[in-house]
Symmetry: C2
Subunit: 152 residues, 2 copies
């Protein structure tokens, strides 16, 4: 997508990312480092958990969502600086072998005339191979303005 | 902390986790897998970014926060099932070598008499070695009730 600036977005615009499959080994590896709970770590112990089987850490779903978003080129080459997240909801478990993709929609935009960046709120939906939403959140991102437009 | 149930918490209760240092190599490794943007990947290229130097992905800060929380035993042995997150804000960059810890405070609790779990909202603040808050969020967590109390 090359360089993409604040001025290139409009409210309601949608973008669909490519997809990626999360394997059991990756789920366990992430859990060992960042979320060492039985239902993310151990397929046997997970049988006695509320999930009944191994599931990915919700934080791995957020991280993988970020990867798909970055790879899609949504923020252009200069990158997007995340300010925060509102209303993140883990709606359904993510299981080993699930293939995820993300739909991004611009919910609102705020330009600040004195700043070199505007603020976009992206509504992000992460879906599995059955097109079931497993996670939703609103990402609040600082998006650079086109250099000529700074100060305008 | 052993087993810790919904009944063991009260609103306003605080818990401080241990701390962990995030090294440059870990920041780059996480970025390669989950957030491949220059300012997380490449110390040289990061000099020309809004941060002026390499910074950790905000999603790595969330993941490390989760690790510190899990290690603290806050959810007890049975684990806590995350339903979602409200008002996550990345307040300050996290740099290589920063040492983070987390302060958790119970913001509110909702017991559902018919369910084996209650819902706790934890206000989480992630701080660096200078006691500066780098991230805040509210974690909405399903916390198991003491088995005898289910249905009560």
């Amino acid at each position: 997508m090359g360089d993409r600036y604040f001025e290139d977005w409009k409210v309601g615009e949608r973008l669909v990312t490519s997809s990626r499959t999360l394997q059991e080994a990756e789920i366990i590896k992430f859990a060992r480092e960042y979320d060492p709970q039985d239902f993310h770590l151990d397929p046997e112990a997970a049988k006695n958990s509320p999930f009944g089987r191994l599931v990915a850490s919700g934080w791995q779903t957020t991280a993988l969502t970020m990867r798909l978003i970055v790879e899609s080129g949504i923020f252009g080459r200069r990158g997007g600086v995340g300010l925060g997240v509102d209303e993140l909801r883990w709606l359904k478990p993510v299981y080993p072998g699930d293939t995820l993709h993300v739909v991004a929609e611009v919910e609102s935009m705020r330009a600040n005339p004195e700043k070199p960046s505007g603020i976009c709120r992206f509504k992000l939906t992460t879906l599995n191979q059955d097109d079931v939403a497993v996670m939703t959140h609103v990402a609040i991102v600082l998006v650079p303005k086109r250099p000529a437009a700074v100060g305008a």
